[in-house]
């Protein structure tokens, strides 16, 4: 497997690792963007209004469907309607399946995040004269952001891992190596493909962790550097920080 990964030809060839990595990212990214665009606003609304929680239950129930089964079902339903060259007939079922997989974690965690905003904070926002939309955007979303991120990260892990099935429908992606390796009994290729998928998922999670670190308000995450801690007399004093020795 190491040998297979170390062969530069396997990386740069047409249909090699770089090509498939790019395809894999495209499939996953498209699904995640669509799923977030759908689930985040709906989740905020449900959390804010406190109604429609059944939608979360429904979305969670959809997760119980086996991915490959749904994939084949959608393909068989769509195939008679799409003619001619091109991959649309394979892309549609793949993306639908991935989007369905990504929606529940994002939706559920967004709802939970908004619901768990301290009622006192929400009251204070209303007391300051904020309207419903303002409360959602400026108070509830920032406060719910850590949980929203946990949902998006969990969805990302699942989608990147599951985008492997794109290869089952004749598309590209890192799953190509898993399926081709298995079919041609090139087990080094198969194992390398699986390893690459896992590494990609972990890498994507790290990127999102970084994004979370810089987008979540410090007031929410409680991540203060010691110097700016409220109540620290030195940090609040006029003295330049360089002269301060802890």
């Amino acid at each position: 497997m190491i040998q297979w990964l170390n062969d530069p030809g396997n990386w740069t060839a047409s249909g090699g690792i770089l090509d498939q990595l790019w395809s894999h990212l495209q499939y996953a990214l498209f699904a995640l963007v669509v799923a977030t665009a759908l689930a985040l606003p709906v989740g905020l609304l449900i959390g804010h209004a406190g109604r429609g929680r059944w939608l979360v239950t429904v979305a969670n129930a959809v997760r119980a469907l086996p991915v490959v089964g749904l994939l084949i079902l959608l393909y068989v339903m769509l195939a008679p309607h799409i003619h001619g060259r091109g991959d649309t007939v394979y892309l549609l079922p793949t993306e639908i399946v991935l989007i369905l997989l990504a929606i529940p974690p994002i939706l559920a965690s967004t709802v939970a995040g908004v619901e768990n905003v301290d009622p006192a904070v929400r009251d204070a926002a209303a007391g300051m004269g904020m309207r419903g939309g303002q409360v959602v955007r400026r108070v509830e979303l920032p406060n719910a952001l850590p949980l929203v991120f946990s949902g998006v990260r969990s969805a990302t892990l699942q989608v990147i891992a599951t985008a492997t099935v794109a290869a089952y429908l004749g598309l590209g992606g890192l799953g190509r190596f898993v399926y081709d390796g298995q079919a041609s009994q090139n087990f080094a290729e198969r194992d390398a493909g699986a390893l690459l998928v896992a590494m990609l998922a972990v890498a994507a999670d790290l990127v999102l962790a970084l994004a979370q670190r810089y987008t979540v308000s410090r007031g929410v995450s409680g991540r203060f550097s010691r110097r700016t801690l409220v109540g620290d007399p030195v940090a609040t004093a006029d003295a330049p920080p360089s002269t301060h020795t802890a």
Partner: protein, 321 residues
């Protein structure tokens, strides 16, 4: 309702996916379209304009893409990795995502869609004649002659038609077997296999089950007492079973069986494979007379494609078009 829903889905998502699709697909077509480039110098071949689809292993198998190039000088424009003659390949061929597919010769989709099987005069694909693999102890003259009568009547088209009944129309394999034997006059009661008890097995796919039922009904008509153990699994499971007597007889395919017993075998034509197989089969097993029915890989195109490019054999794909 369902139809409206699907077409709506198609409309909404197709545009959104178009961008993703055009670049996403490039990676999966591992073949470089060298046929159309200046390298050959002799104009463009028909094959270079076509997309071939088939199983993942077909890309690297010696009788897959490398074999097409070596034996026929045929290089397709690109290769789409789908499945081994399954629904993906058949749908893709039907709906024009691919122009040619690697499909098995007795596949029910061939008669159902009017697909054209391109002839393979150079035997790129080794012969896969249907024949009975049997424990010698049970191969009495009566059993042998009964099964030979069945094999003599069976050919590829017949088997494909019977597969349509079993696989597409979901009819009971036993009933289909009985119907065919009756139509061929092979169900006349006799005494050729009187007193023999035979345990007939089958591999775990429909055609094997159907063939096992055909053997079973034919032997029963000749007075044998028959029990069946269908859907056993792969060769690795049932060949040991044949040796230790847990089953006595199973329908087999000559080429695949030869490679199983002798991985280095090189015979490709029906006669050569059969001769080599008779030598390669280990005791206490033997093979009986083979039928002309073959279930093997084939390059299959739609009727429209065959007419447009005047395709009869695989070699025609290498012509300039």
């Amino acid at each position: 309702m369902k139809k409206a829903l699907t077409s709506a889905l198609v409309a909404v998502c197709a545009t959104a996916l178009a961008a993703c699709g055009s670049s996403g697909s490039s990676g999966s077509n591992g073949l470089s379209a060298s046929g159309g480039s200046s390298a050959s110098g002799g104009g463009t071949t028909i094959a270079s304009k076509l997309v071939l689809g088939g199983s993942p292993e077909f890309k690297t198998r010696t009788d897959g893409i490398p074999g097409l190039e070596r034996v026929y000088g045929v290089t397709f424009g690109s290769y789409k990795t789908l499945d081994a003659g399954g629904p993906l390949t058949i749908n893709a061929l039907k709906n024009g995502q691919i122009d040619a597919g690697d499909i098995f010769t007795t596949d029910p989709s061939i008669p159902a869609n009017g697909f054209v099987v391109l002839q393979d005069p150079k035997n790129l694909y080794a012969a896969q004649n249907v024949l009975p693999l049997i424990n010698k102890a049970k191969a009495s003259p009566g059993v042998t002659s009964t099964l030979k009568a069945v094999s003599d009547k069976l050919d590829t088209n017949t088997l494909a038609q019977l597969d349509v009944h079993v696989i597409t129309d979901k009819q009971d394999p036993a009933a289909v077997a009985e119907g065919w034997l009756a139509a061929e006059g092979l169900n006349k009661t006799g005494t050729a296999a009187q007193g023999v008890s035979v345990k007939i097995g089958s591999a775990n796919f429909q055609e094997s089950v159907l063939l096992a039922e055909i053997y079973a009904k034919a032997l029963q008509a000749q007075g044998a007492s028959v029990t069946t153990r269908l859907n056993i699994g792969s060769r690795e499971t049932y060949v040991p079973g044949l040796k230790d007597g847990s089953i006595d007889l199973i329908p087999e395919y000559s080429g695949a069986l030869l490679v199983y017993f002798d991985p280095k075998a090189t015979a490709v034509s029906s006669a050569d494979v059969y001769a080599a197989l008779q030598k390669a089969v280990p005791a206490p097993l033997t093979v009986l007379g083979q039928s002309s029915a073959q279930d093997k890989d084939a390059i299959v195109v739609t009727k429209a494609t065959a007419d447009k490019y005047h395709l009869v054999t695989i070699a025609d794909l290498a012509n300039n078009g």
